[in-house]
């Protein structure tokens, strides 16, 4: 993976010093909260309901065991022994004191990490394919480009006060695992018919209140131009993006208002002055950065493991784990292992300090000391010898990291929800827990098969509700009760689609039954081996809707769970500001 040189280290160290002084000025009241807010936000520090939350950047989701151990240390020393991995491949700590943050950043800098631009109206952490470099379907390794763009966007002087946040994702495989079509800029790097490397550039995708699939602005952008072209896009956005209404400030609204043809014309006019200029990427720099992403020292080993087959036949849980959590690797004898952070009873994406240490040990012992964080809030060991799988599984099981549910119903995405976030209309984590408990039966989950269930506490869609096969969204109602809208048919990847809302919203206690009914329709209607999403696409939303609303569901208004989302009682310091 990428290692800092003296320049990277110097910039991060100077950031720690700059931030330390900003905190000092805030604590001594030289800086008003209104002035400090955007500064701390550009450093990932949000004010939540109970405490500050600190979001740390994990560039394109890749981290070393040493860095993960530092997270465990931070969890123990400055938080409550746990951290929360996010859908943007970062980690968040929820119980942070402002006074501690400069020291936390200094700790992070010592392991080549930071919290730069993990929030605020700037270019955020670049995300990528969690299987980059090891996926069998990869055409071009996206990681060197993601790192080059990380450096380009870090403290970009012109783009620190954009109309709104700006997210870029890069994918280099046939299957898009980075959800590039729902990003402000989505990059797909590939080789054209002449063997030249370039990018298909999407712009204006996004989730939130107005979920939109991105439009193609360039079919093939030669790799040398990636930085200057993005600069042109962001410059147009910085000047013309709306600033009068926070809900209409993302680039997707600008692209929609202008139309992709006109937007492209403006971008290319801006780009004409930059193209082939000093911002053009050089072979030398690409080679330099790529040198950090070469394949590890794989052994020449057999792909055949009879002991695996025999252990599998004796142990059903292991067999399930092998089937769900172990993915094909492009090198014979190796496998990709997903460590599940979706244990029933635990908030999706949460890991304790002990689990982080255990995962770091697993990485050192079995996977060249590296891990990845997935957008589905799990951890990945990308280079595991098949002969190590049994031992690894035993240790992972002992540490609660081996729930065999990757891609299944309980592998839910969930935002923190109204217990933490001042924006949320409703709780997410308790709902995720209730759903996980109701469908805890693994055979049933296997029967349902591949499905994405995503939960967000509000329209802002941090939990990717609009692209969930089943999406659940906390909605605002006049009574300030907890109500959830259910949508159907959303999906990410190569065939991205936005889910359709099935009808009137449900109470907290009704949601598990609604999901049950949706699954019943699927089981009734599915053709052999048809995935949930494919059945929805084939028969449409109507049969699901009819069945869900056919009879009354217990737990309606009269039995509403009593929980008052904090946004109705806390002041303005919402995490978005």
């Amino acid at each position: 993976m990428y290692r800092y040189d003296q320049y990277d280290q110097q910039i991060v160290n100077e950031r720690v010093a700059q931030y330390r002084d900003q905190v000092r000025r805030r604590l001594s009241d030289e800086l008003a909260e209104a002035e400090f807010r955007p500064l701390r936000l550009q450093n990932g520090l949000y004010m939540q309901i109970h405490a500050y939350m600190l979001r740390i950047a994990v560039p394109y989701g890749l981290l070393s065991s040493r860095q993960l151990r530092m997270f465990a240390h931070i969890a123990r020393k400055y938080d409550r022994d746990y951290g929360h991995f996010t859908t943007r491949q970062n980690i968040q700590f929820n119980w942070i004191k402002l006074e501690d943050t400069p020291e936390i950043l200094a700790n992070l800098a010592s392991v080549e990490m930071h919290a730069i631009q993990t929030s605020g109206n700037c270019i955020r952490n670049i995300t990528s394919d969690e299987y980059a470099g090891v996926a069998a379907d990869e055409e071009v390794d996206p990681r060197p480009y993601a790192e080059i763009l990380r450096q380009w966007s870090t403290f970009h002087p012109e783009f620190a006060y954009l109309p709104r946040k700006f997210k870029i994702a890069v994918s280099g495989a046939k299957e898009d695992r980075a959800a590039i079509s729902v990003h402000d800029i989505g990059l797909s790097v590939f080789k054209n018919a002449h063997g030249e490397v370039g990018f298909r550039v999407l712009v204006g995708g996004g989730l939130g209140r107005t979920p939109i699939i991105g439009s193609v602005i360039c079919e093939f952008l030669p790799w040398q131009h990636v930085m200057t072209y993005i600069e042109a896009i962001v410059r147009v956005y910085n000047q013309y993006g709306r600033r009068d209404n926070i809900y209409k400030a993302r680039i997707k609204i600008l692209v929609k208002a202008l139309g992709i043809a006109e937007f492209k014309r403006q971008v290319e006019a801006e780009w004409a002055d930059l193209k082939d200029g000093p911002g053009t990427l050089t072979n030398e720099e690409l080679n330099r950065v790529s040198s950090y992403f070469t394949a590890p020292a794989y052994e020449k080993i057999t792909d055949v493991h009879p002991d695996l087959a025999s252990f599998k036949s004796e142990n059903e849980t292991f067999a399930n784990w092998l089937f769900q959590n172990v993915k094909p690797h492009r090198v014979p004898g190796y496998a990709i292992v997903v460590l599940s952070l979706k244990k029933t009873g635990v908030a999706p994406g949460d890991a304790s300090a002990e689990q982080m240490d255990a995962a770091a040990d697993l990485a050192d012992r079995f996977s060249f000391g590296e891990l990845r964080i997935t957008h589905k809030q799990n951890l990945v060991l990308a280079d595991v010898k098949k002969s190590d799988l049994i031992t690894l599984w035993k240790i992972a099981t002992a540490n609660g990291l081996a729930s065999p549910n990757i891609g299944l119903l309980t592998d839910m995405i969930s935002c923190p929800g109204a217990e933490f976030c001042t924006l949320a209309n409703a709780r997410s984590i308790p709902l995720a827990k209730m759903i996980a408990e109701r469908f805890d039966h693994l055979d049933f989950q296997h029967d349902i098969g591949e499905i994405e269930l995503n939960i967000s506490g509000c329209m802002n869609a941090c939990g990717h509700n609009s692209v969930g096969n089943i999406g659940i969204t906390g909605v605002e109602k006049k009574d300030h009760g907890e109500w959830y809208q259910v949508s159907l048919g959303g999906s990410k990847g190569n065939h991205s689609s936005i889910g359709k809302i099935i009808g009137p919203s449900f109470s907290f206690n009704q949601v598990p039954e609604v999901i049950d009914r949706l699954l019943q329709v699927y089981l009734r209607e599915r053709l052999e081996a048809e995935r949930f999403i494919d059945t929805v696409r084939r028969i449409g939303v109507k049969p699901f809707k009819e069945f869900v609303y056919a009879t009354e569901i217990a737990g309606g208004q009269e039995e509403m769970a009593v929980f008052k989302p904090a946004q109705y009682s806390t002041p303005f310091y919402s995490p978005r500001f």
Binding site: Q6, Y7, Q10, Q18, A160, R235, Q239
Partner: protein
């Protein structure tokens, strides 16, 4: 007092701002060194064009290309930041320098604070009028937050990767 070329200097320019009941066409531009709103310049160009003691300032929603043909007339151009979170001024400054070749004083006015000045300096501002309620000595420190930068902009035309020899990965195990 303003900050110019990294030093605190006396300022003999006045910034003219329109009151609510004033129109660009008929506001009186006082004698002496005045930085007028872009709208006033366009509305009274005939009358003002022979003055050599005039500067012009951009509101954040005004476009640098509209001044393209007049740019060489000015030795001072200012860009107003109505709120420090309104980042349009950064692109206005960049384009004034990079696309339209402006080489005179480029001054940040309005909600100008220490913690944004490093960025402002990078996109071409060489003069700053920090908010009057702030200590100008303190604001000056903001220009030195970083000693190295990755990307090209106006102050540094060459990105880091073209300027210095950077390390390749030399470790054998990764």
């Amino acid at each position: 007092m303003i900050i110019k070329n990294k030093a605190i200097v006396n300022d003999d320019w006045t910034v003219l701002r329109l009151a609510e009941n004033e129109a660009p066409e008929n506001v009186t531009v006082p004698a002496g060194k005045v930085i007028v709103p872009l709208k006033v310049w366009f509305a009274q160009r005939e009358k003002l064009q022979d003055r050599d003691d005039l500067g012009v300032w951009f509101a954040s929603d005004e476009r640098p290309e509209t001044l393209k043909d007049d740019i060489s007339k000015f030795t001072v151009i200012a860009v107003d930041f109505p709120k420090f979170g309104d980042g349009r001024g950064y692109s206005i400054a960049y384009n004034l320098r990079a696309r339209f070749g402006y080489v005179g004083e480029l001054r940040a006015i309005g909600d100008v604070l220490r913690d944004q000045m490093f960025y402002m300096q990078r996109v071409g501002f060489d003069a700053f009028a920090p908010r009057p309620d702030r200590d100008i000595q303190d604001a000056l420190k903001g220009l030195n937050d970083f000693s190295e930068v990755y990307q090209a902009s106006i102050d540094q035309k060459t990105p880091l990767f073209r300027r210095v020899q950077r390390n390749e990965n030399t470790s054998a195990d990764l």
